[in-house]
């Protein structure tokens, strides 16, 4: 799973969110490393929607402009959980080896 996709699904895991909200959340989650472009965001949403991982939630009008909220589907939550587990596992391996490397100096 690519980073933008992971960040979008992670943003929606907190609850339904509109496009601008997803961008700001992704920036915060990634510690400012990833600032999603609008084109990238809507291309990912188009793909995630046709894959059934994300669906439109509701529409609101703010400042005379339509805002659409998106939410994670159950399938999307399953996919995000699997990806999170995969990332956790590989991060655990990395952490373990880094610990061993540090300890290697003394042992």
């Amino acid at each position: 799973m690519q980073e933008p996709t992971f960040l979008i699904l992670t943003a929606l895991a907190a609850g339904p969110q509109h496009g601008y909200g997803i961008i700001t959340d992704a920036e915060r989650t990634s510690g400012g490393a990833t600032r999603l472009q609008t084109g990238t965001l809507y291309m990912a949403l188009d793909r995630l929607r046709s894959a059934g991982l994300v669906e439109p939630d509701r529409e609101e009008v703010a400042d005379g402009r339509l805002r659409r909220y998106y939410r994670l589907t159950d399938e999307g939550a399953t996919v995000l959980a699997a990806e999170t587990e995969r990332r956790r596992a590989s991060a655990a391996v990395a952490a373990q080896r880094l610990t061993a490397r540090l300890a290697g100096g003394t042992a």
Binding site: H18, G21, T24, R28
Partner: protein
Amino acid sequence: MNAGRTGQPGPQGGDMPGGSAARDPEQAALERRYQRLLRCYPLSHREIHREEMLGVLLATARPGQRTPGLGQTVNLAACGLAIRARRVLSWLAGPWQDALAVVSLITPVLMLIIAALDFAVAVREAVALHQSLPEAVPFWQPGLVPLLGGPAAVMTGWLAVVLLGLTGRARPAAAVASIPLVLALANLLAEVMQLTGAWSGGLPLFLVTTGAGPVVVASLAACSLAFSAGPRRGLAIAGRRRAWLMIAGLSAGFGFPAVVQLANPSAPLAGPALSLLGVVAIAVAVVVTRVRSTAGWRVAVLVAAGLPLDLASIPFAGALAATVVLLLGNLLFALLVWPVAIASWRGRARRASRAG
């Protein structure tokens, strides 16, 4: 499926800055430029997302920004075009993949039947030639080898294609099928060059005897074997009975001239009525087989599109320009089915990976 709208706006659902500020001239100019860029997106996408995308674009713009900037322009254009490409791929992926699988079943068998008829005609011609000789000479002459050997080799090739395909080896079948296809393409090109005067020499005998088959059908056979789920899947989709009906109707249409020539060697092959009969035979086959089949009309389009081109060149044999146009049409169609098949195959792979 989530039941009901459970969600609250996320804790980070901040306000969009700049919504009402769109009234000032700088933002209005920026908005117009964004609107122009959004035309890269397909209409179906724009109708739903134009408003919200504009909102997000303006919300993420810097204060006082007047133009989208190069990076964002490229990003919007690329993403819009990518969504367009995705729509085309997914349109080609489903039913066209089914249609191509059916085509990979029926076209090799069709080519085998046509090749067998051509071989029979060649044998009959050889026998007639032998009988017309005044002296009693043995039938087997070295001169017969190219006349009979060419059609025999083509027939054997298509038999191999059919057998490989039906035993689940679609890719090797495609490789074998590409040999008669290349010969047919070369024969077609040589014919066009000869007709237009680009080349004054005669056609090489091996091309005349091996490349005479309908090039569009040969091309369909090779590309559908290479880029579809293969003949076995085609058989599962079409069903045994419907597959036989398609093959019977199509070979009746395409093989008509050869059958007539076999029955009566002096029959006027150039008669338009004859080609018309062939077209009617194929039309009947198409109408009969498309019933209750979702992929049916696509199979009909793929196979039947090459047919008028192939048969119409007979009545136009006298008119040079028309014949050249028809031959080039044949060539164009034979080449165009490849990108369609490849796009459909890639769309199918993408769809499968997305579902997984």
